[in-house]
């Protein structure tokens, strides 16, 4: 099962096994990872599952769509490597992915 590591804004790390097909957001919610709110439940409508993706991973991920980019405009402190974790569907290629959560979501 692919492993995804979540690092919070103070540097605390948690690595979780996430079955293929779940999103990085769902993996966080099901494992009670703090720092990801996901208020809208994954309908790409709220930007509260915002994460930063480690540089080396950012270009390997499926390309960001306009709708996601538009929502990231609304996110708390967006950066170049911002993604919405509800749009990152876990697959074998994503084994080892590292994401950092912002200091808050709203």
């Amino acid at each position: 099962m692919p492993k995804v590591t979540y690092i919070d804004s103070s540097g605390n790390k948690k690595t979780i096994d996430i079955p293929n097909g779940l999103t990085v957001m769902e993996g966080a919610i099901q494992n009670k990872i703090p720092g990801i709110d996901a208020d809208c439940g994954g309908s790409m409508a709220c930007a509260t599952c915002h994460v930063y993706v480690k540089e080396e991973w950012f270009n390997k991920l499926p390309k960001i769509e306009d709708g996601e980019q538009d929502m990231i405009d609304m996110a708390f402190e967006p950066k170049k490597n911002s993604r919405l974790s509800c749009q990152l569907v876990v697959s074998d290629e994503m084994d080892g992915l590292i994401v950092t959560t912002p200091s808050k979501q709203t």
């Binding site: 709110d37 208020d39 809208c40 439940g41 309908s43 409508a45 709220c46 930007a47 509260t48 306009d66 980019q69 538009d70 405009d73 609304m74 708390f76 402190e77 967006p78 950066k79 170049k80 808050k104 709203t106």
Partner: protein, 339 residues
């Protein structure tokens, strides 16, 4: 004091259908919502996105669903209290006394919380001192544009609100529009207008920049904006307008002493009552084993809650389960005639 059989908190699809379920049982309900219109997330977050899982409706948008629900509850002539939030509750015997942010007072044996993920509020700027200047030099909506006449305005955001106000205010003030990337997501016509104004030197556009700090004492004097490479620019500014959409906050309800599970309220699945008698939670805001955050689940939850609401509002009457297809009582209430 407004006396009713049930107060519904939230005018989203689930709150609207709760009006229906209460209404066909002869119960009078009124609805409070912090937004300025009905529809909740359907209208605020995805008015144009199609929904495919409403039973019997293969495809509809959030806006269409809201319109149809409002049509469905027309016979009940429901009062809506928009731009208002429920604040505190007290208990008087069998009744809940509910105060709103506009000091309206309701007395009702039942409160149905259909609040989704909470009430919508503008997403606020997080830089230092943003709070201090809020309402004075920083605004998240515009009520009186004349205040900005002849002033230096920095507008933040990349959507329609930011673009529309940049266009409008460029006629009377010196506008700088700041957005974190070089693509805007406004209507094409607005985008063309803005580009035209930029060429004419009537609007200054700074893209790939974000607000980094505010300088001033009693009022704002200037702001600094920073790009991804760390380059910083200072912009003389009298007013900041920020348009980063809405967030959802549960607000005062979280202090009502209800059993909570993170941002949701625990209910039983028999009647969707919370740990407090006469307070119900339905739709996305309620929590129980197996809960699905679907509109269709919220409809079911409202139907079951309305039965318990009837028992509390009409303690001396027996509840009778009736079908809309055959019940003369319901058809009278709906004002429809059948053969």
């Amino acid at each position: 004091m407004i006396k009713i059989d049930a107060l519904i908190v939230g005018a989203g699809p689930v709150g609207l259908f709760a009006v229906h379920q209460l209404g066909i049982k002869g119960l009078k309900s009124e609805v409070v919502d912090n937004l300025d219109k009905a529809g909740g997330q359907c209208i605020e977050l995805y008015p144009d996105k199609p929904i495919y899982d409403i039973a019997g409706i293969p495809e509809c948008t959030g806006e269409e669903l809201t319109k149809n629900l409002l049509e469905q509850i027309k016979p009940f002539k429901t009062n809506f209290h928009f731009n208002e939030r429920v604040q505190e509750i007290t208990n008087e015997g069998n009744q809940w006394i509910v105060k709103t942010s506009k000091n309206k007072v309701f007395s009702s044996p039942n409160i149905i919380i259909a609040g989704g993920v909470g009430s919508f509020e503008p997403r606020k700027l997080s830089v230092k001192d943003a709070e201090k200047y809020e309402g004075k030099n920083i605004f998240y909506s515009v009520t009186d544009k004349n205040k900005f006449s002849g002033k230096k305005i920095s507008i933040f955001g990349g959507g329609d609100s930011a673009l529309d106000w940049a266009l409008e205010l460029s006629k009377i003030s010196k506008v700088t529009l700041v957005h974190r990337r070089d693509q805007f997501r406004g209507a094409p016509h607005t985008l063309n207008e803005i580009k035209k104004l930029e060429k004419e030197g009537k609007v200054d556009i700074k893209t790939k920049y974000q607000l980094s700090s505010i300088e001033g004492d009693k009022s704002i004097k200037s702001i600094n904006i920073k790009n991804d490479d760390g380059k910083e620019i200072k912009i003389e500014t009298d007013y900041i307008l920020s348009f980063f959409g809405l967030i959802m906050k549960l607000g005062p309800i979280s202090e009502w002493g209800l059993n909570m599970d993170k941002k949701t309220i625990k209910v039983n699945t028999e009647n969707f009552e919370t740990n407090k008698k006469g307070i119900f939670a339905i739709g996305d805001i309620c929590a129980y084993p197996g809960k699905l955050k679907l509109i269709l689940s919220g409809f079911h939850e409202g139907a079951l809650a309305s039965v318990e609401c009837f028992k509390r509002a009409r303690p001396n009457e027996n509840y009778r389960f009736q079908y809309t297809t055959t019940s003369k009582d319901i058809q009278n209430i709906l004002g429809v005639k059948t053969k």
